[in-house]
Symmetry: C2
Subunit: 108 residues, 2 copies
């Protein structure tokens, strides 16, 4: 289940979609990474919009600054659970979370 070929790559902020073939990632793998990246970006955006530091957020969710940094860089060691729960802690609704996963909003 874990397929760790990507380990260090996603953390570096690669455009996963465009390098998928190059890295030899399966559809599921890249879809999963895309989702994590979307949530990671959303988390950072939410945090910054509330003028919180990583340390502030860490305190609020009972974690540490280093883990928040890893969340926002979509580190392989952070789970979707932690990302989602952090977003919820910032007041993001499940619907908002869903929106983060569909950057392509249905125009007209």
């Amino acid at each position: 289940m874990k397929s760790d070929k990507r380990k260090r790559l996603e953390a570096a902020g690669w455009k996963v979609g465009s390098t998928r073939q190059f890295l030899g990632l399966s559809n599921e793998e890249s879809a999963y990474i895309e989702m994590k990246l979307a949530l990671a970006r959303g988390l950072r955006k939410q945090r910054e919009s509330q003028n919180l530091t990583q340390t502030d957020l860490a305190r609020r969710i009972g974690s540490s600054q280093s883990r928040v940094a890893k969340m926002e860089s979509a580190d392989p060691t952070v789970s979707l659970d932690l990302l989602v729960q952090s977003l919820l802690s910032l007041g993001t609704s499940p619907q908002d979370v869903a929106r983060l996963l569909r950057p392509v909003s249905r125009a007209a």
Copy 2:
């Protein structure tokens, strides 16, 4: 972070939204449970629509029948990661996953 007051309750299939106050769940907690329930329902629906047994799905994702059953009942021990990765294994796209999280489609 774990707040296990709900342990056995969500698994039993309660209407979380309606019993939130009664159970004393925070907004975040109930939102998190709602999300898990939505994914759990989606997983079962997807699996059944492809005429797969829990054992079939388990084999496909490298897990076991018992864990699939727990996924579909939103057992507290199953992570969002596992739910999401299982959905992706069934061909669900990240956008589809997002749709599962917003049962209330924006009408008009």
